[in-house]
Structures are given as C-alpha cells and as structure tokens.
Symmetry: D2
Subunit: 440 residues, 4 copies
C-alpha cells in the first residue's frame, strides 16, 4: 500500500523563489465556481455585489410573504443587469459564458435563491435569443434583435411559460389572416410580476401530420392574457412564480418561433435545452454554500467544543459542497466548450452537452439537499422556526429536483438510455406533449 | 418555477456555421480527467497505451496469486515510463503536472489498479525528488539529481516506507563517525519487489529537544536490510506491497533528508503531502470507470430489456462516476495551480492544497465504492466469483480510504478543524509519531 | 451459494387443512405498529377513528395558518381521549403500554402530525404522573392523583416546558415562607393554547452545593405567568407550540417535583426520559406512512406506466417504511418489557431502555425523512406547492431530529459512549444545565 | 415542540418494588433476534454453543483455502443439528419456527458465515420437507418421511440445486418406463461436499402445453451425476458451493416433486419461497454483529480517545445493526404467524409472507454492508489484509444481495408491482425459466 513521506520540508535558509520552470497547465482552472473567468463576467459580479446586501436583507421577509422583489429588478434594469447576457454590440453587458452566468447566480442565490431563480429566466433568455439573432432566419433575427436591445435597456423582461396547467394543452390556431390565436393556461411562470413578454410553449395540430410545436412570444398587454395570482410555493416563494391564462390572444406570425414537431426524435434539441438551464446549477450551489456558511458561523460562535457528530458532519458538508461545485463547474465548462462547436454533428453536440449536465444535476440536487439538511442538524432546533434562514434554505433547495430538464425520473430514463444505447425521445417538450395529461 | 423552452430548434436551411464571436473561455477545460493537458502528459499516455492490453490480461491472474507484474515494470523502465516525472533536462519524460499524472494512473488503473498503485510510487517520487533537486541544499540536490537520472534510465526504482510495523518505531541513531544506523520495521511498502532504494520515515530522539524526523534513502543491498514477504491484501494484491526490516543499516549522512520535528505544527508540510499523494485519486477513478464499463457492457449484451432497478442504478452510476472525476480533477488542477506559487505564505499554500484534496478524497472514496458496489448489483450473482473482474474491483476500490493523507477519521479531523478554526497539528507524520502505537 | 426451490407447490386435491401441530410462537407479534395489543389500546383506536376524518380535513388549513385544533382537543376531552393513559381506577382509559400509545399517535399523525405531537404531550404526562402516583412520596402521590383524575375528566391539560428561551436560565427560589417563586422563559411548549398546567424544568442554585433540578407544576392562571405567541415553525405548525414567561410566579411546595442535581451522573434517569418520549416514534412513522400512501395513490391513478425510477423509489420507500416501523416497534416493545422491572438495577434498566430508543430514533429520523423526500420526487413538481400535503409532510418530518432525548449530536455521544464504555453524564436535563447557554 | 421532563427521578427512600398493576403486553417480545422463543430453539442454541469456538477458529483458514468444514458438519450430524428442523416425532429436534432458525444461524454466522450458509440449506430442507410430509400426496409423504428420518439420524444431507450453469437448461424427460432421466448442469450448490441428496430444479417440456416444473431428488451416488469443483467465491468461501452435472441420471417417479408450470402466475408459491429463504436474514445480521463486535473491541483497546469520526460511525453502526435486526425479526415473526394459516386465501398468504421478507431483505442487505464497511473504516488499514476477519466479513456480507428470492432488481420489480397493483409473475423459478439465458 502506498503511503508517502512529505517532500515539503525545507532546510532553513533554502531560497523559496527561483527561476522555476514548470509545465503548462490549464490557464483558467475550472475552479469551483469561485469567480468569473471572462471580463464581462467579472463586470457582472461587480455590479451585482452592490445589490447583495439588500437582496440578503429582503430574503426573509419576501419568503414569508411570497413577495417578488420588484424594486431589486427595477434597479437591475437601470444598471444593465437585465441585459447582462445581451451581446455588447446590442447594448448588453456581453456575458456569454454559462460558467460566468452560473457564478453570478451562485452569488445572488447565497443572498436569496428566489431572486437568483427569477434572474436566471432573464439571463437564459438573453443567451437563447442571442442564438436566434445569430442563427435564425431573417424575421426571427429581427425579432430577437428588437427584444435583446430592449433587454439591454432594461425595458424588456421576458419569461418562459412552458408547463401547462392541469390537463388542458395550450394551443395555437391560425386566425385566418396570417396570424395566430393562442389559448390555454400555463403554470409555474417565474419572474411573471414584472414580465413584459412571455415565451409560451404551444402546440398546433396539423391535419394528417404530426403536431407542430411553437413558441409564440406574447406581450403582457396582449388582449386575452391574464396573470393569475395564487401559486404559493414550498420554497422559492419570492421568485414571482405565477400562472398565466390565454384566451384567444392574437399573436403576429413574426412573433412565433418554430420548435419542431412532436415525436421528431432529435438529439440536436438537447443543446438548447442544456444551454438554457444548466446555469441554474449555480443557484443550488449558492443555496448549499449559504447553508454551510450559516452553520459554520453558528458553530464557531459557540463557546463549547463542537461535539463529535458536529465535526463529522461539518467535514461531510465541506466535502459535499466542494464536490457539487466541482460537478456543476465541470458541466458548465464542458457546455461552454461545445457551445460554439457548430462543426460537430448537431445530435452528438446535443448529447455531449446534456449528459454531463444531467450527471451534474442529479448529484447537485442530491448533495445540495444533503448539505442543507446536515446544516440544520448541526445547528439544532433553532433552525426549525419558519423564518430561520436555514429553514428557508431547506425549502428552497428542494426545488432543484423539479427543474427542467429533467425531473429525477426523466433524468434516469435519459441517462440510462444514453448509456445503454436504448431508443428514447430526448426532447422533453416533445415527451411531455405525448404523455397522458396526468403524467406530465 | 423556472422551466425553459428550447432554443436549439432551427428552421431548415439555417446555416450552422458562421463567423461566430464568442467570449473567451477556459482554454483547457478541466474536463473530467479524460485526457492529458500537457505534451509530456500526452506522450506518457501514448507510451502507456501500448502496455495496457498486457496489463489488463495479467490483472486477474496476478490478483489471484498476489504476483507483482515485474516484467511490466522492466518494460516500463526500458521505455522511460519509470522516469516519466523526471525533468527532461535530467533525461526524463518531463511530466510535471499532477493532473496528467493522475490521467495516466487512471488509464493504468482501468486495466489494473495494483499496477497503477505501484507506478504511482515511482511517479510521486520523481515529483518530490525534483522538488528537492530544485530547492534543497546542495548535498540534497546532488543526491536528488543522481537518483532522478537513474530513474530516467530505468535503473532506479524508489519506494516509500512510511508506516511502522506494530508498535516498534523505526529509529535512526548516529554511528559515531558522521553517518547513521537505521533500525526498525516498515509495513505496506508498495512496489518493493523491484525497488532499488527505499525512502524510510524515521525518528531520531535528541536529548532535551524534540524528536527529529528524517527520511534516509536506503539502497536495497544495504547490509541489514531485509525484504519480508507475507502481506496479502484484501485487494491491490499485485501491487508488490511488502514489509521491510532494518537491522542497524548504515546510511551515509548525505543520503538522509530532514523532515522537521515532531509537534512542530506547520501547515507548510501539507503542500508536499498533498503533492505526493493527490494523483492517487486517478487510481480510484479508474477503478470506478472500469467497473462501470464492465457493467454497461454486460447489460447491453443481454437480450432482455433492463429492469427498472438496472436503469435507475445505471443512471446513478453514471452521475456518480462523472462527479467523482470532476471532484478529483478539480483538486488536481487546484494543486497544479498552487504548486509553483512560492510567493505565497507557505502555510496558506499548504492548506489551500490539502483542503480541496481532502474534500475530493473523502468523496472519491465514497462515490467510487458506491459505483463499484452498484455495478455488482446490476450485473448479478456472477460477480460473486473470486476471479470475476468486478469482484476484484470491489476489493481494490476499498483501499482508497486507507491511503495517506488522511484516513477517514483524520480527514474529518483535518477538515473540521480547518473549517471551524480549531487548533490541530496537520502534519500526519508528526501526528503519527505522537500517537500511542495502538492508534496510529 | 444458497438458492432455494419452492416448497409451496401442492398436487391438486391435497387437503389444505389438517390437524396441524406447530410450535409455540410469539402470541403477540411485534408487528409493525399495525394495531394495538391491549384492550385499552384497542378502545383508544376506536375512539380516535371517529375523529380522524375531521383531523385530516383540518390539517392543511391549520398548517397554513398555524392554528391549534382546539375544538378537536375539546372533543378529545369530552370523550376521554385526554385521559387515555390515566389508570382506569382513577377514571381514565387505562392505556399503559407505550406500544399502543405509539400506534394511536401513528394513526393520528397519518391524518395530522401536529395534532399527534400535541396529543403526545398529554399521553406522556398521563404515564409519567401515573409513575409518580405509584412510586412518589405521599405528597407527590396526592398531587399526581388529583391531576390524573382531572385529566380523565378532560379538565386538566398539562404541558411540559423544558427548553429555556435564549440564554436565560429558568430559576426557582424560596419565597421565604416555605414556597417557591419561579422566574424565566421557556420556549417550544407544545399544546400550550389549551393547557391548564405546565410542568416546568427549573434550577435552584444552593450555596456551596450542586445546582438542584426541580419540576414545578404551574397552573395557567398563576400570577406572573404569561403565554407568548410568536413561534412559527417550519413544520408542526398546528401543534400549539408557544413560549411561556414566568415573572416571580408563586408555586406551593407541594407542587414541585424533585429532579436530582446537575452533574449527578445517574443512568437511572434514562428510564423516565425514554418512557416519556419513545412513543413519539409513532408520529414520524405516521408521517412517513401518510406520504407513502399519498404517493402510491397518485402514481396508481396515472394512466402511463410508472417510469423506472418511480418503480425503484417505490420499492425503496416500501422497504424503508417497513424497516422504520420495525425499528420503532422493537424499541417500544423492549421499553414496555422493561418498564415494570423494578427488580433490576435502576441504572441498567435506564440504559437498556434508552439504547434501543436512541438506535430506533436515529434511524427513524433518517428513514422517515428519506421516505417523504422520495415521495415528493416520485409525485413530481406538484408537491412543491406550499399547501400540497406532501410539502407539509416534508416540513413536519424534519421535527424528529430535534426531539428530546436526544438531538443527533447528543445521540451520537450517548450511543458511542455506551458502546465504547466512555464516561458521560447521560441525563440530558443535567447536560443542558451545564452547557454554555449558546450550546444548549 | 414536545420536549419532556424526566419522570424517573425518585426521592431517596422511595420503595422501588410494589404491588404493580401493569397492562398485558406481548409476552414474547420480538426483540432483535437475541434469543430463541421456543424450547426446541433454545435446545438448538445450547448444542450449537459447544461448536462455536471451533467454528470461529476455523473461519479464517477455511476462508483462505476455500475449505468446507466437513468435520464440523459430521459432528453436527452426530449431535442432531442436521435434524434440528425435523419434527420430534420423526426423531428430530423439532425446531419449526423460522425466528428460532434465524437466531441459530445468526449465532453460527457470528463465528463463520460460510458454515451458517451451508447449515441453512439443511435447516431449510427440514422445514420444507416437513411441509411435504404433512400436506403432500401419499407418495410424497412417504418420500419426505424417509428423508426426514435420515436427516434426524445425521445420515441425510440434502442440498438444493436451483441455478442453471450458463445457458443450458436442466431438463427431465421420461425414460419410457415410468421414470425420468435428468440432464443439465447446476451451479452454486451449497453444502455440496457432504451432500447425500440434491433437490434439483428442472423443466419438462410438454407437447402443446406449458413447460412443467419439477424438483427431482437425486441421490449423490446416482449414475451420471458428477460434482464439479471449481467455483471460488468472493466470499462465503467455506460454504462448500460447487457445480453439479447430470448426464441422463435416472430418477424414479416417486422421487420427483411437482412444482407447477412456467407462467402459471400464482402468488401461492411465494409462501414456500419465503419460508425456505427468510431465515438467511439471520446470517447477514450475524455477519454485521460480528463486524461490530470486532470494531468495538479494537477501539476500546486503544489507549487514545476515539476521534470524532469514530464516535459518529460507532453510533451509526449501532443504530443500523439494531435496525436491521429489528427488520429481520419483524419479517420472521410475521412469516411464523402466517405459516399455519391454511385458512387464508393461498395467494394472499403468499404475498403477506413475501412482502415483509422482501422489505427486510432489501434493507438488511443495505444496512449490513454499510455496518461492515464502516467497521473497516473505524478500525483502519489493518483490516485491508486478506485474512483480517473484517476483510472476510466485508466479502461475506456482499453475498446477501444475490440470494434468492430476490435479487435487488427482482425485489424492486416485486415490491413495486405489489404496491402499485401491476401485473407480474412473482414465481421466481417460473420467471427465470422464461427469461433469455443471458438474463437469468
């Protein structure tokens, strides 16, 4: 068995510095999501740092009351944060690396996970619209540019509305004059209180053909659109998560993005799904980090020596936190690497993005929840008060397993199919469209 | 709640390639220990690749019989592998990044963990002697250069002998004419069957002062040195792990490295301890990878659909394997970054190396064992035969928790003391020297 | 390896019934807390069954609003439930086996854990006062009889008030005329909204001697006593858990129970601590059972086949639920066995009660939380709404680890000290009294 | 929150004994498999106790060499142990409760798990043959009586041979004159070195009908039967587990038991499968207990205080061991209760036996392995020697997951189908017969 002696002892007087030659090594260590690796990423962190104290102070009350921190987001708008992921040439801050987006979300989530979750919606939208602006057909590019410029000015706040409410399917049908009419109801739309637009997942059945998938972009003041208050979450209660109802909302043809068809098994779509969601790993890393910091702070203030179980749990907490940050960072860096690889087979690129994301997501969800739980155990009964920060974190951290893509069950299906070479439609929007309504 | 629509759908005909502008991102992604990031590292992988089939074929029989693969190591010597971590200017291959050392060990461990464990001893020695050659006092530099040149030629094979056998402490005493006499017994000396030299941890009590720690380098043919066969491991059975006895072995003064004193609490020594051991994480990642590959291969050959539990376990295996590789990679890259930072406070540098290493080690040990166990469960009863490769892997993987530094218990003490700001002597050689013999 | 053929096949026509001789076997199988094993226990279940629908219906709203179900408890009083554990000769229902108490609490907790937790306070009080009535000195017997008779009539509702609020210690000092004055503040007093009396843990420093521990019984209308609303829990929100303040409350000498002295290491006290708390294991078993039933009910209503992960998790849920019920049942039966064993050494009796209780408590807490978490995962995102029953159960179940005796950290200390033969004061009231206030 | 004061304090001088009235409670507490609950069970423990020192002493060498302890079994034969489960009226010891069989196996497994595993084959055979003797058709009763009487005299040692070797199916075909000819190969036949008879699972295809399942009982000296040495296990290496080959072995019609047909979904067969295997839970409980005792013994001998991680792990070990014993005990008592219930619907009886067994088996396998692993971690590197008792236990304990019925994957399928009401053939002999050979 290998055991080692130390090589670091130095006779007194040995010069520490010298003309070292040492090998090339990764210039930007993946680190553990500690800091941004690009200039725009660093700029974003600097701007956000000014907001963190207020975000942290408001986290408790907003959680208790389920209040969305609208004023924080208005300040974000004024200072360019809502356009952080808009390209610089369109007036944005130009953060395009998901690693750096995740670091920013981690910092915000340490102060308040709900704020980070809502902010992610906007950051993610900037990145996916930038893709449309660069690669879409001309009308889409025009639409994307208009929206991105408005985001950069802090004038557009754009939410995704994906999940149907109950058993009803949200549908788009031709209005007879080249446009569309949208009807249905969506649930779990985050950042909705201040949204100016919604990107809505919708189906349009075609006679004799497959059901087509679309994403109409609907302005908030569109006739027939109503925002429905009512959802109250176990956690993430200040994320402004609401329902939307559409009653024959008119949508111009130019405001509708095509999203393929149901059952068209294409792994290429995995790329967009991974890109638009992977940065959320930073949120759960931030929640775990905040819990760990609270626990350590509490224990070190105590005058008694920590008991055996506290030392053991603190070591496990530290190791798990380190590991979940490494797993998330690995997935983020891998996806950032693959993102510009349009030379690759699109299906392969999609899979090579989604697989590390799903591996990391499964473990981040498990480890972050374990870290927070152990922090409550270490600190003790005081954490069982509704408004104790650790109680809030223990509710917030549980959101991770329900984030798309995928849930735990779908993640198991995806990963096992991938590893074992089984057939599977990996497009979760398509999967959901084909499931019975009671199993979506 | 944030759920997302896909941005990857593209209208047919959209050009995939374009003149992209995308932000700087880490040029050498930390990845997941998939490949080397330096030229010497890549060269080492190329050379090793030629040996892997034979190593893999011999793994089973050598494990059964407890036979060290001496011929493989002789070939390693002829092809420069035993000098892989010797600087190029001394005739070696010049691999100096621990990340790349770990990737090489991972590859070998996929074929046979015992071979990788033994090889690590030599790789680690190359790195620590290079440090002595660059930073030691003149006599030490001379000694180090001599040994390194011999390693590069495949003529020197140098083992560490750290752990005392039983309750006896290995001691060095002056021979009265400027040299030393070494007596004691060491256990768990890996790669011993082909060793030409041993670096032995020893104590020298000083009247009225603290006990000093030394590391005499003892040639195999030194009078009084005997190699004692007898240890038979639960796993890692082909690693050539033996005991050594020293009966007043003469050691010249110039062949003795100073190692500080017992109880001199210095975190600087953590750097050398981390550097000399962290690459072993690659070994356990390799064992887990080999188990996963065997399980996947077996399941995909079966004609029946995999049962629910197999799909769930395969997904968990994939996610855990990904995560343990990410954790190990993160620690390796961090230590490679800090390795040349002689500008830093030595204590801080030591801690900043050891902490990520211990976090990664704790989790790699846990996750790698879980991966292998689940692979046995998925494959079924056939794995319960002594010579099934998965049975071997399940024995090999359990060595990780006993590797220095630290065991699980000491790792918990180290990490919790670090996090909570408790006083602790972090030098495990010193710790061990002060413990009762029955608790080392 | 042992594999077995089936012995149950029967040739057609074989008579199934016969004149069997079979060996004696345990007449009352420990079962898994499925049903009561005594007549009074069965009677209690029958009475409770009538209340369960209303308790279940009120669970959600009461949790949301933090409302104590006072009307339910008034009905309990009218129907003798509040005197369930009062001896029949004093007018009570005569349930004296903790196994049956736990089964009753399990049933109630399936409907609402908060109600069960509050009810436990009364059930436990009946049992401990019965002990005082049987074994106390004459004045204590008289006091106990008076209170027990009032409980049986539904007129006395008696809470424990153990934990000091903040850093202040609740103290008893002589009033100069043979009685006492009580001052201090208690937190986490359950069932307080309807309490008629409080049993308060207090200290009385003695000049030159050890601090003595007392438990004054204080009527709600005592001058100087105020009930302080304000605590809002992460879960168990309808349990009526409040703070109490005592400002020189007069307490007659006859209403004060002696509780030994700080630091008087006596394992005999473990018996009372185990007896007064072990039935709470039934509450957490009930929470886990309710979560499992909700998850199974939801999955079986879905039209799609359950995915692989759902089948795996459902099997794990079933096995863990079975196991935690078996562990709880084992501890309850063991304590019921030892309860009348006054022939034994009191210290040994205390340890032999507390050890299985702590083993079961540690695992019930772990397994019940895992069961509930997995149920949320299986059912999906709908459970993440604040008022989803599974969200409530996931908050309620986490109370278990903070219940006395012991917390996880103290449980680890107790069990390891017991197993390894280390010295330790096992009286948690005494332990707490000697700790710095910030570590209690 | 409920916290409790202690009720056990007693004023000095209070009489401890009194004329107690306390309620009925389970007379034979299920306990935790500590001791037998029937007279024959206690007698068996007494006889076995005399053998334990030798069994314990031989465990290490027999494991190393893969030697079956034939002499121990010869002594068992002389002292009636091999007829322990034979009815007293046929000359046996008359142990018929599975709880007591499991306690006996637990005791033996604490000394040597291999011996216990082999002994289980004989104990189980006694119980299943007793069933045939009582309920079979007249020729079967006669056969069963003859074999049982021989077991009681120590002259018959009867192994099960269930699992086919490789892809070949063991088949029975008519010999043309009323008897049968048996051909095929079986693997993993435990206790084979001393077997006098083998009960072989075989199929007989019928033209135009379902494949019928039979269990011919084949004497060791039957022409065409050969015992094939060669299997060497990861653990359970002294259990005498071998392969058997049958080359047209003649079997008289009267020596063949009918076992239903492939695909005849009948839950009644679960009863026999549960009865014949559930006592093996005692073996894994014994392995875990032995590991715990070794670890505790080692730690308590050390002069240093146990580190934090050791205290935490020891507490976890104690709690898990307690819990796995409780789970096993619960399943055993439940099956003993149901065993004589021929009044019940046979399908329901089968399910009500198998479900607790599978719940307990899943958790016993998980918890016992965790206990043993943690024991190695606590004790340290010394346990990594091939012949360290804890190394042996860590190999032995892993057999549990491969024991029939069921493997982990089949157990998940069974339990989830049961809980969710899914269709499934629960007869594992039938399941295996219908699977592709590469997935059995």
């Amino acid at each position: 068995m290998q055991e080692h002696d130390s090589a670091s002892s130095r006779p007194v007087g040995t010069a520490l510095m010298g003309t070292e030659r040492h090998p090339p090594r990764p210039t930007a260590p993946p680190g553990d999501l500690t800091t941004a690796v690009t200039d725009p990423g660093r700029e974003l962190l600097t701007v956000l740092a000014r907001h963190l104290p207020r975000i942290r102070a408001a986290a408790g009350p907003n959680d208790r009351d389920g209040t969305f921190p609208a004023e924080t987001f208005h300040d974000f708008g004024r200072q360019g944060v809502l356009g952080a992921t808009v390209p610089a040439e369109l007036g944005g801050m130009g953060v395009s690396g998901l690693h750096d987006v995740a670091v920013a979300l981690l910092r915000v989530a340490e102060a308040d996970a709900s704020t980070a979750l809502a902010l992610h919606a906007q950051f993610s939208r900037g990145i996916t619209l930038t893709y449309e602006w660069r690669h879409g057909p001309p009308p889409t590019r025009e639409l994307a540019e208009r929206l991105l410029r408005a985001m950069a000015r802090g004038e557009a706040v754009i939410c995704g509305a994906v999940k149907d409410h109950g058993r009803e399917v949200t549908r788009l049908r031709p209005d007879g004059s080249g446009g569309w009419l949208l009807s249905g109801r969506k649930t779990l739309v985050t950042m909705a209180p201040i949204a100016t637009h919604f990107v809505v997942s919708a189906q349009a059945p075609v006679d004799g053909g497959p059901t087509l998938l679309y994403a109409p972009i609907v302005a908030r003041d569109t006739p027939g659109l109503s925002v429905i208050h009512g959802w109250s979450g176990l956690g993430m209660r200040a994320s402004g998560t609401l329902d939307l109802a559409f009653d024959n909302c008119p949508v111009p043809a130019g405001d509708v993005l095509e999203r393929g068809s149901v059952g068209a098994v294409s792994d290429a779509s995995l790329a967009g799904q991974a890109i638009s969601s992977v940065a959320m790993l930073g949120i759960y890393a931030g929640v775990a980090q905040a819990a760990r910091d609270l626990a350590v702070d509490t224990i070190t203030r105590r005058s008694a020596s920590p008991p055996s179980a506290a030392r053991t749990l603190i070591a496990e907490i530290e190791a798990r936190l380190y590991t979940l940050r490494a797993a998330a960072s690995g997935a983020l860096v891998a996806i950032d690497e693959l993102s510009p690889r349009y030379d690759m087979d699109p299906d392969e690129r999609g899979v090579r993005m989604m697989t590390p994301f799903q591996c990391a997501k499964l473990m981040v969800n498990e480890l972050a929840a374990a870290v927070v739980d152990d922090c409550l155990t270490v600190v003790g009964g005081a954490t069982y008060a509704a408004e104790h920060p650790l109680a809030r974190l223990s509710r917030d951290v549980r959101a991770g397993r329900f984030m798309q893509p995928y849930t735990y069950a779908d993640g198991v299906d995806y990963l096992s199919a991938q590893v074992l070479g089984l057939e599977r439609d990996n497009n979760y929007v398509s999967i959901r469209a084909t499931r019975p309504p009671d199993s979506r």
